[in-house]
Amino acid sequence: MPDAPGLELIRGEIEQDHPNAVLDTSFDRGQPSLVVDPAQILAVLTWLREAPGQEYRFLSSLHAADYLPSTPRFGVHYELLNRDRVERLRVKAMLAEPSSGDLPTIDSCVELFPTAEFQEREVFDFFGIVFRGHPNLTRILMPEDYVGWPQRRDFPVGGEPVTFTYNERNYG
């Protein structure tokens, strides 16, 4: 696990090859993470995978989160792992929601990490984040004809109220 100075060193090395790619770093609860410009996410991931001394060759998880009140709204998180040194590194790409009503887009990293194929489909399924260059970006868990992105924070939870007499009398 890179410590806080180690994280800054990684940031500096990335900056040499890709200026302005890393927007921020954070080291919280012993977990290092890089906040990366989404336009350069593939360049950074490739660098972290290939650069000598880094070699984070294993993508242990790819997921997203919706930070609704704050902007940019969506975060796509890449959990990288070096299995020789057993070091983990989190890369975040924060995506703003386009004002035109389109879906937010980011480059797909399936070419780099084949395991990302299903996980990017899952992120697309639940958050409506489009991964450019994904071989088959369709819904994976919800039915194919489902409308909406259910894990977004502004999506209604769903379900239905229980029709007990008590509920009917007090809330009906």
């Binding site: 919800m142 039915p143 769903g158 379900g159 029709t163 007499t165 009917e168 009906g172």
Partner: protein, 215 residues
């Protein structure tokens, strides 16, 4: 014992006559009607579909057939892996909206007569999963004969429910506490749906049930 054996031998030889023959027939023949016999046979050879949806599947189709609970005592030990051979389906777990068409298709592929048990809170009402992904009660898309409450129900509860289903298959459904407190027909109907009132046929069926219980 010996005497009965001798009498049976005499009957086969054709030596029994008159009052003796009458007594022999009375002892050995049970009179019933065909419907009752058919219901008895169906209730005691009810093959469940090998089908698990979620955690309830550990309780129902898996542990029920083990030696500890032994569904074979009730004639339902032959789990069938094909809906064509099954008489009963146990919905053991929450039905997600993606799974609902699959479950419905399995139910449609089963041959008549067929029965469905909704096991546990999730398949009966959605349970704790009151959200976008789970069907709020399996009877929204298929007819359910019996609901077993619990999260999950103990295997004993499922066995109890299964014996209730057997009573129903035999044409003698239990009314449970409603019968004990003479409360049949006081069921609350789900409101707010497209069918907020019972249909005429359903109302009539309930009236008939009440009459039967009073009698």
């Amino acid at each position: 014992m010996r005497e009965r054996q001798l009498r049976a031998r005499d009957m086969l030889r054709g030596d029994l006559e008159g009052e003796e023959l009458e007594r022999y027939v009375e002892e050995r023949v049970v009179m019933t009607n065909f419907e009752k016999m058919l219901g008895w046979a169906r209730a005691n050879s009810c093959f469940p579909l090998t089908f698990g949806l979620a955690c309830c599947a550990i309780e129902a189709p898996i542990s029920l057939v083990t030696a500890r609970y032994d569904l074979a005592r009730f004639g339902a030990e032959a789990l069938r892996a094909s809906p064509r051979q099954a008489d009963m389906i146990i919905l053991s777990g929450r039905v997600s909206i993606k799974m609902a068409p699959v479950v419905r298709r399995l139910y449609d592929q089963m041959l008549e007569p067929k029965w469905a048990i909704s096991m546990g809170a999730c398949s009966s009402s959605g349970g704790m999963f009151s959200n976008y992904a789970v069907v709020q009660g399996a009877d929204k898309f298929m007819p359910i004969d019996l609901h077993i409450p619990g999260c999950p129900p103990r295997p004993e509860a499922v066995l109890y429910g299964f014996t209730k289903l057997q009573r129903r298959i035999m044409g003698n459904p239990d009314q449970g506490w409603r019968q004990r407190y003479e409360a049949a027909g006081t069921e609350e109907w789900a409101r707010g749906g497209p069918r907020s009132e019972p249909s005429a046929a359903e109302a009539e069926a309930y009236e008939r049930t009440r009459e039967l219980i009073r009698a």
